[in-house]
Each structure stands twice: as C-alpha cells, then as structure tokens.
Symmetry: none
Subunit: 219 residues, 2 copies
DNA sequence: GCCGGACCTCAACCGCTGATCGAGGGTTGG
DNA sequence: CCAACCCTCGATCAGCGGTTGAGGTCCGGC
C-alpha cells in the first residue's frame, strides 16, 4: 500500500479539523523544537507520514487538554519512542481524545472545508481501505463526489479504535440513524440551508446527547 | 480550638520545607491572582489560616506535578469551593484530568457525583419545575432516589434552550433512545460496571456521534 | 521613644515559552 | 511562464509567572 506523504499544507488542513489554532508556522515551530521530524524531498520540502501527523495530534492534544509544556510532551514522546508506556493520564497514543475543550461546542469554525481523496483520508486517519469501504457500505462515511470531508477522518479514526474493542462497523449503524434523525430535527427548525442557527442547534443537540449518554452510563 | 493564624513569614517557613522555590513575593503574587485570600489585621498584615496554607499547598502541588496554569488551578479551586468533587487521579488532594468547567466532554472526571434535589436542579439549570416534570415524563432526566446527577443540569439547560427554538421535550425522546442504545453497546463490551474502559468507550462513541452529525449537516 | 526587622503597596522590570511575521528566495504544476 | 506553495532565518511579540526596589508602616524589645 502506497503511503502518500503529505505536504505541510495538507497536514494543516487535516489538523485544523480538530485543532482550530494550528498554523503552518506552528507546525514548523514544533519541528524546530524537535517534536516531529518529517522527511524532506530533495528540494527541501517537508513530507509528513501518517505517523508524523499522529505525533502532531498527540502534541496538540496534550497541549490543549492537559496544558503540558512542550518540554514535557517531548519527554513523553521520547519515552514512547523508546517503547515505554507514557505516564498514566497522558493522551492515548492512538487518537481517542475525548474531544473536549472549548472546541467542543465549535461547530462553525472547525471543519475547514477539507476535501480529501480516498487515499488521503486513509493516510490521515491511519486506516485501511478495507475498513473505509466497510464504513461506506454502512453509510457511516459518505463521499461527496470523489472527496471526503474532515469529519470523515474522525469517524474513521474512532471506528478503527472501536474495532480494537470488538465493535465493528455494522454495530455502528444505529449511530448513523441517530445522527440522521438529529439533523432532520434541526432542519425542521432551520430549513435545509446551513446557517448560524444550524450550527448553534447542532452544538446544543450534541451537548444533549453527550449529557444523556453520560447520565446513563453505569455509576 | 485556638486557630493560630500565621504571618506570611511563618507560612513561608512551612511551605519551603516542601517547595523549595516558594518565596514571599510569590505568595503575595498568588493572592493578587485570587488564589488565596488570607484575612488581614487592622493594620493590613496578612493572616493565614490553616485552610489558606492548605490551599497554597494545593496550588504549588498542581503547578509542580501537573504543570497546570494558575488560571486552571483557580477554576479547580473554585469548583472545590462550590462543593463539587474534584477529579480523581492526582497526588494528595490534587485534581487532574482536563479542565472541568466549559471543557465538559471528559468522561472520567466531571462532577457526576453531584447529588441535587429537585429544587437545586431547577435552580442550577434555571428551568421551571414544569419543564423538569416534562423532561422526566419522557425519560430524559431520571432521578436516582430523591436526587439528580450533574448531567441532569446540562440536559435541563439544553432542553430549555431548545425550547426557545420550538423544540419540545417530546421531540427529544429519540435522543434518549439513542443514548440508551449507545450505552447498551458499551456495556456489551465492558460489562455492567463502570470502569476506565467504559469511560474510554463512551468518549469514543460520543466523538463518533458528533462527527457524524457534523458530517450530515447541510453544507 | 526609638531602633531593627518584618510587613505593607505599587509600579517597573524580567526571563522564558510559545509562538508569529516578513523579507528574500527556491519549487512545482498546470 | 506564472500562481500557489514551500523554504530559511532573524526579528518581534504577547502572556505568564513571577522579581525587584523604592517608599512607607507596624510591632516588639530595650
């Protein structure tokens, strides 16, 4: 399987879906600080592997959710590289951030209208094309034309992680149904165009959903 | 019970045993930042109670061991003051885990152990008892015995806000169903007890749900 | 009643972290 | 060939977490 290496701009697009405040210069800065070391083309362009993107995600998560200074994050990464399990409470090594933070309610600004090809999506999410196909067959990921949006990355990542618990794409169909119904309700109020109201409502319903799940979790 | 109130110099002595880098000016600075508020004598001298010293110890520990910014520590202290149980996982009495407050998607730590009466819940969420009753009749809020958990506040608040868009509790039943199914799926994997895994999985499924909703929202 | 040490306030300053900016210039793809 | 993208490197910056010092007050002992 060819591993499409991404340019810094593409990496930016991918990460901005999840971290609104990442910039090109920040990514370069993080390299200068030794937190990632992307490959280079002959002409000096950075080329990021899926692993590099993963690493950046780890850094940004640790910064945002645990307020760790870069120095400490770097140590953690070093420990991981040496094969040690990092300190407990650290962000999962695989992407399973409890998408928290002020960003949680942020339905507007996020999701730069990313347009990924199939291969880019697989690379960005670190999943096989097989899994992607399965997710599509259950309607969990839908292409618009030949491209996928930024949310597809999150869906794919989460699905991959759930798979490690034995939860397969087919078990996730109800999520699709629930999401469709939720969006349907919103559209009944705001009409079929995306507006500020659409986003506000979506933020609210998602908040509701989250609180309900939490309240029903075993004590 | 004599309450020996300490001068700033005495406090310094005490704390320096444990935190070598504490200074008088640092203690004063922490007061200026609102992290402690020692009493004052008539002439303006600071007088620290045992509780104040405890508080300082908490601040210094959180800084040293968890790298938390003062702003966040202050929030935690505020939460403790308001009677919320702080998170588990930190040293002595220290909290840990991502910030509470606005950053509310954390499944491990948030103030779920809250036990509110009906009246307290209505007051905290700013809703009428009528709305609460309606939410209960649709199973969106469920009391455990005579008390409600912290998530009920969120549910009530969101429901109230949705009502301003014309969305009424009865329209929200599907959310309850979806949440129940979601929790059911999680319990199939982890069993009926709450574990770390339960929380991780919940974080994942909620993330999935959010991404799905977003991806289906009108462009 | 006076002296020294502990304490007070307030404004200025400081060093570090975590970036951002811009000038000046090369690379790539249509 | 040109626009969009990428490169480096040095300057600059903003905020955090304090420190410093000037100028003055308070308190206990002699």
């Amino acid at each position: 399987m060819a591993k499409p290496e991404l340019s810094i701009g593409e990496v930016l697009q991918i990460l901005q879906a999840e971290f609104t405040d990442v910039t090109i210069s920040k990514i370069r800065f993080l390299e200068a600080e030794g937190l990632v070391t992307p490959a280079r083309t002959a002409s000096g362009y950075r080329k990021f592997s899926a692993g590099d993107v993963e690493r950046l995600r780890y850094v940004l998560t640790a910064q945002r959710d645990q307020y760790l200074p870069l120095k400490v994050i770097k140590e953690h990464l070093g420990a991981i590289d040496r094969g040690l399990r990092p300190a407990a409470g650290g962000p999962p090594i695989a992407p399973s951030t409890p998408a928290s933070g002020p960003a949680a309610d942020d339905f507007g600004a996020t999701g730069t209208d990313l347009r990924l090809t199939r291969a880019e999506l697989c690379a960005a999410a670190g999943v096989s094309t097989t899994l992607l196909a399965e997710l599509e067959s259950h309607g969990l990921i839908v292409a618009e034309g030949k491209h996928y949006g930024g949310d597809a990355i999150v869906v794919a990542q989460v699905a991959a992680e759930l798979a490690t618990y034995g939860i397969e794409p087919r078990h996730l169909r109800p999520f699709r149904t629930a999401a469709d119904r939720e969006v349907g309700l919103i559209e009944q109020v705001t009409g079929p165009r995306r507006t500020d109201q659409t986003q506000q409502l979506a933020a609210l319903t998602v908040r509701l959903h989250t609180a309900l799940v939490r309240s029903r979790l075993p004590r």
